[in-house]
């Protein structure tokens, strides 16, 4: 969909031609009324998880590693999500898991965003050899499927949460670099920059005032979309035993325990649901945000 979706029809843009007007009214008529609700739902879910993360010690019935209950109890009133193989309350552990997954996901994406957009902007701005080197490295990373590279990194550095985070960053910066590069390339030659230059703005000012917002928008959308992926990748590594280590209450590692005791379905189900809700919520938001972007940029974002 295009930018037309989000623009009011009486915008003071040039008078619409019949075609466009038809097109617009067509689109407007068909704008899915639940799109906004989806984004809203996503936002609320994220908010709920943030609250849970902050107040986990108050909300959780038990500390995450307290092992005084019988192992592998099915969900009851006392243990709403049941207990795991060590007799720990899964409900409490799921709540505590948010304290790990959410900040880490945010950190991951922030660092990847920073590194990726810096490198990408440099590539786009300076061009030439800088561009070639940075983008060839990005290509290299792209040729590795994410998790296999992450696997190699995590295994090389040792299976720890910290290293898993590093691994995910190594894998995810190139998307930002590519996007930032193409946005900067596009923006450098675009009319608003040209006109700003004509009005005598300094190069730096152009970069900051004119380029910044136009480049930052799509990057932030990509970041939102990427949070979900980061959570998935990180929990996947933990699931494989290359991320968070027992007894840490991390969702991926908890699902892994569920795989060991798969006939006790509750051990893996609930932490997995937690991952799903977080990722889904971010994807809801990202999806709605992407629609706001113009189609060319949206295409650059992929998916």
């Amino acid at each position: 969909m295009t930018v037309a979706d989000s623009l009011p029809l009486d915008s003071d843009a040039a008078p619409p031609g019949v075609e466009e007007q038809l097109d617009r009214s067509d689109r407007a008529a068909l704008r899915p009324p639940w799109r906004q609700p989806l984004a809203l739902t996503g936002g609320l879910v994220i908010l709920a998880w943030i609250v849970i993360a902050i107040f986990a010690p108050l909300l959780a019935p038990d500390p995450p590693n307290s092992q005084f209950a019988a192992p592998l109890l099915a969900p009851t009133h006392q243990f709403v999500f049941g207990t795991d193989q060590l007799g720990r309350d899964i409900f409490s552990r799921v709540l505590y898991g948010a304290r790990l997954s959410l900040p880490l996901a945010a950190l991951l994406v922030a660092v990847s965003l920073a590194i990726g957009s810096l490198l990408g902007a440099m590539a786009g701005f300076f061009g030439g050899i800088v561009d070639s080197v940075i983008m060839r490295i990005a290509d290299l990373v792209f040729a590795f499927p994410g998790i296999i590279l992450a696997l190699a990194v995590a295994a090389a550095l040792g299976p720890q949460l910290r290293n898993a985070v590093l691994a995910v960053i190594v894998v995810s910066w190139p998307s930002y670099a590519r996007l930032a590069r193409s946005l900067v390339l596009g923006a450098r030659t675009s009319e608003y920059v040209t006109s700003a230059r004509l009005f005598g703005s300094s190069g730096w000012r152009v970069l900051r005032v004119e380029l910044g917002p136009n480049v930052a928008g799509p990057l932030l959308v990509l970041a939102t979309l990427d949070v979900g992926n980061a959570v998935l990748l990180l929990s996947g590594l933990s699931f494989l035993g290359l991320g968070a280590q027992p007894p840490t209450a991390e969702w991926g590692a908890m699902v892994s325990a569920g795989a060991q005791n798969f006939n006790s379905w509750w051990v893996g189900l609930f932490p997995g649901l937690a991952i799903l809700t977080v990722v889904l919520a971010f994807n809801f938001i990202g999806d709605a945000l992407r629609d706001i972007l113009d189609p060319r940029t949206a295409r650059m974002l992929g998916k």
Binding site: L9, A14, P16, V18, Q21, S25, A29, L30
Partner: protein
């Protein structure tokens, strides 16, 4: 000239659903097209002319409602079932879209695009359809039709593509071709060729043509009759020569003055002030009144009816400031005799 009425449009209204509700985009429009006649429909963007054209064939997007009657050969197209309507489209009535760069499918060979509807509508074999396609391409003066069939659209220039589009529209020997801004996207030098082609086809094959355009210059040379639309209504209707020779509606007059060729008379090219209204923001009364130099108080409250003013002409303007019996001096008064540039005069090919 017309030997009989081919298409009769009565009281056609179209309602579109916009973000802000249902809006009347075409407001009780009536007109007819005779056999072998060229009817022009003129108006700025947003005047409802394209929507009118699309509504004739039921091509409007979902959520829109069309009322009135569109009678072709005694059948009301608006009452037809989808399947029946499809048998009219491309067969009885075909359409040439505005931009030949986008209206031809980029990935399909010309042959496929030229023959698919022929085979559907006329139940022709592949070879027969191919023969027909070659014939049509020759008719629109495409050099080397054989090779053209094997080619893809991107291998042709804009003018050539429009010729192919016209050949495509002609392929099933329709009774009526609706050409929506057929020359707008083309170079001026190519425009004339396309127009003369349409004129020639009408003469040779007796096909009726409905040309939709914002450019009165296009119509002046070839259309027999002319409807001027504004805000979803017909504001002036008549024989082209007469309407353009002495426009009665201030809007028609404005359009004339905006023509680039008008400056040749010493009168400066003068665009109409303001911009066409949007569907969501339609002025009350005569929708042109906010831009009209002659507007009166009543214009903003009362919708002027389309009334005959003699000589088969119709007008929707109550003050009728440009009537020949009035000699109101105005800055635009000289407009009564603006010579219309004839694009065919600068014939190229």
């Amino acid at each position: 000239m017309s030997t009989g009425t081919l298409l009769e449009v009565e009281d056609l209204s179209v309602r579109l659903r916009t973000a802000r509700g249902i809006r009347l985009a075409v407001d009780h429009v009536s007109f007819s097209i005779g056999q072998g006649e060229i009817l022009g429909i003129a108006g700025e963007s947003g005047s409802g002319k394209t929507i009118t054209a699309l509504s004739l064939l039921g091509l409007l997007p979902g959520g829109s409602r069309t009322t009135g009657r569109v009678v072709l050969d005694g059948r009301d197209l608006l009452t037809l079932h989808r399947r029946e309507l499809r048998s009219v489209r491309g067969r009885q009535v075909s359409m040439v879209l505005q931009d030949p760069m986008t209206s031809l499918h980029p990935l399909l060979r010309i042959e496929v695009q030229m023959t698919e509807h022929v085979r559907t509508h006329l139940a022709m074999s592949k070879d027969q359809a191919r023969e027909r396609a070659l014939e049509m391409l020759a008719a629109v003066r495409i050099p080397d039709p054989e090779q053209a069939l094997a080619s893809h659209p991107h291998q042709f220039s804009g003018g050539m593509r429009q010729r192919i589009a016209i050949a495509m529209a002609l392929a099933c020997e329709p009774r009526l071709i609706i050409a929506d801004e057929p020359t707008t996207a083309l170079d001026v030098t190519v425009q004339a060729g396309i127009l003369s082609l349409l004129d020639q086809l009408r003469r040779e094959r007796g096909v009726s043509v409905m040309i939709i355009t914002h450019d009165l210059g296009v119509l002046s040379s070839i259309s027999d009759r002319l409807c001027v639309m504004y805000g979803g209504r017909i504001v002036e209707h008549g024989v082209t020569r007469e309407v353009l020779g002495s426009p009665r509606h201030p809007y028609t007059n404005g359009l004339m003055q905006a023509l680039p060729g008008a400056s040749g008379t010493g009168v400066p090219m003068r665009p109409i002030g303001g911009s066409p209204p949007s569907l969501d923001d339609m002025p009350s009364g005569c929708s042109f009144h906010p831009r009209c130099d002659y507007a009166q108080v009543s214009c903003s409250s009362k919708v002027p009816p389309l009334r005959p003013i003699g000589g088969g002409r119709l007008l929707a303007c109550d003050p009728d400031p440009l009537a020949p019996d009035r000699s109101e001096p105005s800055s635009s008064g000289a407009a009564t005799s603006v010579p219309v540039p004839d694009p065919l005069a600068e014939q190229v090919p």
